[in-house]
Amino acid sequence: MSQLVIKNLHISIGEKAIVKGFNLTIKQGEVHAIMGPNGTGKSTLAKAIAGHPDYTITGGDVQLDRKSILAMQPDERARSGLFLAFQYPSEIPGVSIANFLRAAVQARMAEGEELDAAGYYKRLYSKMDLLKIDRKFTARSVNEGFSGGEKKRCEILQMAMLEPRIALMDETDSGLDIDALRIVADGVNAMRSSPASPGIMLITHYQRLLDYIVPDFVHVMYDGRLVKSGDKSLALELEAKGYDWLKQQPATA
């Protein structure tokens, strides 16, 4: 069983400290929801763990299967089994989803090993069926001119194809109407029930997503650290009471 261990992590952008001592362990198969008001460092956390060059790790460690990933390039982290579903995925003009994913799958193979094209498409199409994605979709350029819902579905398709051991999902629900939300949630749930179910860090503002992807744990992040952890009932409590009552809580270990 894989696990991601985040130990006393501190992250800055330039001189500004954003994440200030974050601790969490995510095991494969678990879903951890991270909630909290805007500007508390949730997205920073996800992007920094994935290796975005704008963020500086000023303290602590992140380990995937007992190995620190902090010295690794973003692509090495990805090939080690980490996946970031972006809040705002980039457009890649002229590169089809099918070719992009193919390049990503090929990048995971040993040097000299040839991708079996027939096998690749068979797998791609079965994942698309699972996510109720039309065949024509993968001929389109990655994210170019996509609606919010299409972008998120494209992220989920990539996640399904790359089969990460740990997935960081950054505000996957933002910009989605209820139908799109349900489709995305169905995709995540299908992955959860597969034998290679990833460990998921699910970053969200709203309880709404958690009606569809039921988390094993709910954590509240405030001012760069976790201030409260619980089970799914915590999300309902937050929905009813807001975040203000938590702002005075001490950091959990």
Partner: protein, 480 residues
């Protein structure tokens, strides 16, 4: 036969690199003994030597000597072009090197030292696979030239320029130097003085050549200048596709390649001319290419410029007959120490003529790409249309691009549209791709291939695959 499955179709649609050549593939040299050598430097004697070994008629020697005079009189065009041109030392270049003037008709007859070069470049193999004819030029002369029997029987002529002049003077002389006069520019004058090699093609009325004809230009010697001269004539209703490839080993001194290519598409004829240039980055590549399209004829230039130290090349079409069509699709990639100064010229000279220019350039590292275009539609014409698109992609902050479009459309009965864009590969885009497991170089390469994808798709399969491979290799060294 059963129809292809969904998966088979998907695989066939993929532009996956399966073959192709790489940038370093041309970087090798076998020792060759030359029987004919014009020595170093340029003078009237050099010109006389070339003309005499080719046993040319007096009019041609006159033509050459006059061209030399024009070359010497014309100033270097550094008032508008790059100052780097001033670094060419014409007295340090060798103008003619060959083992003989008559190309062999079979690869078995080609001398071993030359044959192994072309085998290493994969030319005989490509010929067997998909070409109607091949001419392989080694320094000044074609070492091999052959055309498939079935094509020759249709009356198609495909020989080098020396043979063309000797054996088909009545056609050659009629068109030679008419599309690009000697004094067109300094380098067309130089070529006219010392030209050797290149292709002469004549496609008779109504003959459509099914497979492409290919020429391969190989520079092998150091301090050398290659000056091939190509003349392609498609008679009424004829169709032909011509492809050229070029490589040279990487020397520490500079090499000059200065070709002149003239195309004539008579009534309703179609000529497609495809170049994938992969010169080593010490080559000055200064080429003049132009075609004349008569009534209802079509000329299409597909021009891919990778490598070289400086390329200056603006393929053009003179739209001489009504409803003639001209097209230039070009891709240029400028890496460190390289300047791709490329573009297109469309001269409308008849009613209802149309032209289309799509130029994409990529600048990597300190590389510089320049687009220069001329579109001319005079006032007395009507129903003429031009479309010009030039897009530049910058990879690094030190990369550079310039655009100089000159579009003059007079009168109110003609139409033009022009679009230009400059984009940069963003850090976020690269991070996004890296977060899927692609290395930075793979991510760059994919971004570049995406940028040219819509254009590359219009190329013949073999060439788009080769182009993609070349880009991958160029991008590998571009990060860090």
């Amino acid at each position: 036969m059963k129809p292809p499955s969904e998966i088979e179709t998907a695989i066939a649609m993929d532009a996956n690199p399966v073959a192709g050549i790489d940038q370093t593939k041309g970087d090798f040299q076998y020792k060759v003994d030359y029987a004919f050598d014009a020595g170093t430097g340029l003078s009237a004697d050099t010109v006389r030597y070339i003309s005499s070994v080719k046993k040319e008629e007096p009019w041609l020697l006159e033509f050459r000597l006059k061209a030399l005079k024009t070359f010497l009189e014309k100033p270097m065009p550094t008032h508008w072009a790059t100052k780097d041109l001033g670094n060419i030392d014409f007295q340090k270049i060798r103008y003619y090197l060959s083992q003989g003037q008559k190309p062999k008709r079979t690869w078995d007859e080609v001398p071993d030292d030359i044959k192994k070069t072309f085998e290493r470049l994969g030319i005989p193999e490509q010929e067997r696979k998909f070409l109607a004819g091949v001419e392989a030029q080694f320094d000044s002369e074609a070492a091999y030239s052959n055309i498939k029997d079935i094509v020759a029987k249709q009356g198609v002529i495909f020989v080098n320029s020396t043979e063309g002049l000797r054996e088909h003077p009545e056609i050659f002389r009629k068109f030679f130097g008419k599309v690009i006069p000697t004094g067109d520019n300094k380098f067309s004058a130089l070529n006219s003085a010392v030209f050797s090699g290149g292709s002469f093609i004549y496609v008779p009325k109504g003959v459509k050549v099914a497979q492409p004809l290919q020429a391969y230009f190989r520079i092998n010697a150091e301090n050398f200048g290659q000056f091939e001269r190509t003349l392609i004539i498609a008679d009424e209703g004829a169709e032909v596709v011509y492809m050229e490839g070029c490589t040279a080993p990487k020397f520490s001194t500079s090499t000059l390649h200065s070709a002149v290519v003239e195309l004539v598409a008579l009534k309703s004829a179609k000529i497609q001319y495809i170049t994938v240039q992969n010169w080593a980055n010490n080559v000055f590549n200064l080429v003049t290419k132009r075609g004349v399209a008569h009534e209802d004829a079509e000329i299409k230039w597909i021009d891919c410029n990778i490598g070289s130290r400086l390329t200056m090349k603006y393929p053009g079409v003179v739209l001489k007959g009504e409803r003639a069509r001209g097209e230039v699709l070009s891709i240029a990639l400028a890496n460190d120490g390289q300047h791709q100064d490329t573009g297109a010229k469309m001269i409308h000279a008849a009613n209802n003529t149309t032209s289309n220019i799509i130029a994409k350039s990529i600048s990597v590292g300190q590389g510089r790409s320049t687009y220069r275009g001329v579109v001319h539609i005079p006032k007395h014409l009507k129903g003429c249309k031009n479309n010009t698109e030039c897009d530049a992609l910058l990879i690094n902050t030190s990369s550079r691009t310039d655009t100089y479009p000159a579009i003059s459309v007079r009168g109110d009965r003609n139409a033009t549209q022009h679009e230009a864009s400059v984009s940069k590969v963003s850090e976020d885009m690269i991070f996004y791709m890296q977060s899927r497991g692609l290395t930075e170089a793979q991510a760059m390469s994919l971004a570049v291939n995406g940028f040219i994808n819509d254009l590359a798709r219009q190329f013949p399969m073999e060439y788009s695959v080769e182009l993609k491979r070349l880009i991958d290799l160029e991008m590998e060294g571009s990060v860090g």
